[in-house]
């Protein structure tokens, strides 16, 4: 997925630059074509905004809209600048981006009835978003387990341990064996409950800590892969684009 995102942004960088360069060639020419250039730039910016929204929302409608805008941009660019080699060079990256969008739309579309089941269930490679979501799930589950474990130890185990100690003290103070045995039996039952809760709470808390640690590591890895800096080169243009996903 990261590679396809980069290709989209590379295409963006290559496609916008010649239009702007062309628009600023001479004041007279700029004044003559400025409304159309401005319209092309606005359309192009809207299309890239749709792509960016899609990266966040995963709403396929955004990609459809972006493709429509880019197709319109290509048509208007052809009307404005014709089919000269320079204009074709400018449109080539946009064509590439449209093809990339169509490929992603085809991949996101539901399988047709004629599609073999094996192809339909083929699992896509795990993306950074999947890793991030799994990390968040681990963190949430780990926190819940840790809370349950702590509640078991502190809320049940500790009070029962205190009650057990109280029963032992009462057994020590008892004058007769029958009373002493009664207190001791009660203390043994309370000890069993406390130890059971200590063990269960401890296991839950330890599992929760492990899940939390795993989730934090997975999220950190996903975040590392979310930022990319790409060099861009073109006719009359050199620069870099940074892609950061939140």
């Amino acid at each position: 997925m990261t590679r396809s995102i980069l290709s989209l942004f590379v295409a963006v960088g290559l496609a916008t630059t010649p239009v702007m360069t062309r628009a600023a060639q001479t004041p007279a020419e700029a004044a003559a074509v400025d409304p159309r250039v401005h319209r092309l730039q606005t359309m192009y910016a809207d299309a890239q905004a749709k792509v960016a929204h899609y990266e966040q929302s995963r709403d396929a409608q955004e990609l459809y809209d972006a493709r429509t805008l880019l197709m319109t941009w290509l048509e208007e660019h052809r009307i404005t600048y014709g089919d000269s080699p320079a204009a074709l060079d400018v449109r080539a990256p946009v064509y590439e981006q449209v093809r990339s969008i169509e490929a992603r739309l085809a991949a996101a579309a539901p399988p047709s009835p004629t599609t073999p089941p094996a192809a339909a269930v083929a699992s896509p490679p795990e993306s950074d978003d999947d890793t991030d979501a799994a990390g968040r799930g681990l963190i949430g589950g780990g926190a819940a387990m840790l809370a349950m474990g702590a509640a078991g130890v502190l809320g049940v185990g500790m009070p029962f341990w205190a009650l057990r100690s109280q029963s032992i003290d009462e057994a020590d103070r008892a004058q007769f064996r029958v009373d002493q045995e009664e207190h001791l039996d009660r203390a043994r039952r309370r000890e069993t409950t406390a130890v059971t809760m200590f063990a269960m709470g401890g296991v839950l808390a330890a599992g929760g800590v492990l899940m939390l640690a795993g989730g934090v590591v997975m999220r950190a890895r996903a975040r590392r892969h979310r930022m990319a800096v790409t060099p861009q080169l073109g006719p009359g243009f050199a620069g870099a684009s940074a892609t950061v996903r939140f």
Binding site: I168, Q175, F176, D179, Q180, R188
Partner: protein
């Protein structure tokens, strides 16, 4: 420090903590009631023939370790009922021995069902 080292250290610490459990050392005994001739001397019980000795007995853990908390099952079991009778008193932590006939006998100390010590009882002739 690797995860494996951390787990190993935690395991050793927990084993060390478990090893701090109470371990039997001796029985603390003192006379509560009974015949004048009956007594507890240096861990030995003395009871006259036909007499009774009531004494309190509690297990004591090895020094430097956690003491017994009272939840352990402490029993004194007579091995020669024809010489001395041993039974629990109605009083807390108290036991009664009665001399059946003159002689020497042993009492087994059990903790949680395990024999851990042997006491000697001398039944003296009147």
């Amino acid at each position: 420090m690797s995860i494996r080292t951390l787990f190993g250290a935690a395991l050793l610490l927990s084993m060390g903590a478990c090893d701090e459990s109470a371990r039997y050392d001796h029985v603390n005994m003192f006379k509560v009631a009974g015949d004048v001739e009956g007594d507890v001397e240096r861990g030995m019980l003395l009871v006259p023939h036909g007499g009774v000795l009531m004494f309190e007995a509690k297990p004591v853990a090895e020094p430097g370790r956690r003491g017994f908390d009272g939840l352990e099952r402490f029993e004194l079991v007579g091995t020669q009922p024809d010489v001395v009778g041993v039974r629990r008193s109605i009083r807390s932590d108290a036991w009664v021995v009665n001399g059946v006939r003159p002689g020497s006998a042993s009492i087994v100390v059990e903790l949680d069902g395990e024999p851990v010590d042997t006491l000697t009882v001398e039944v003296t002739a009147r």
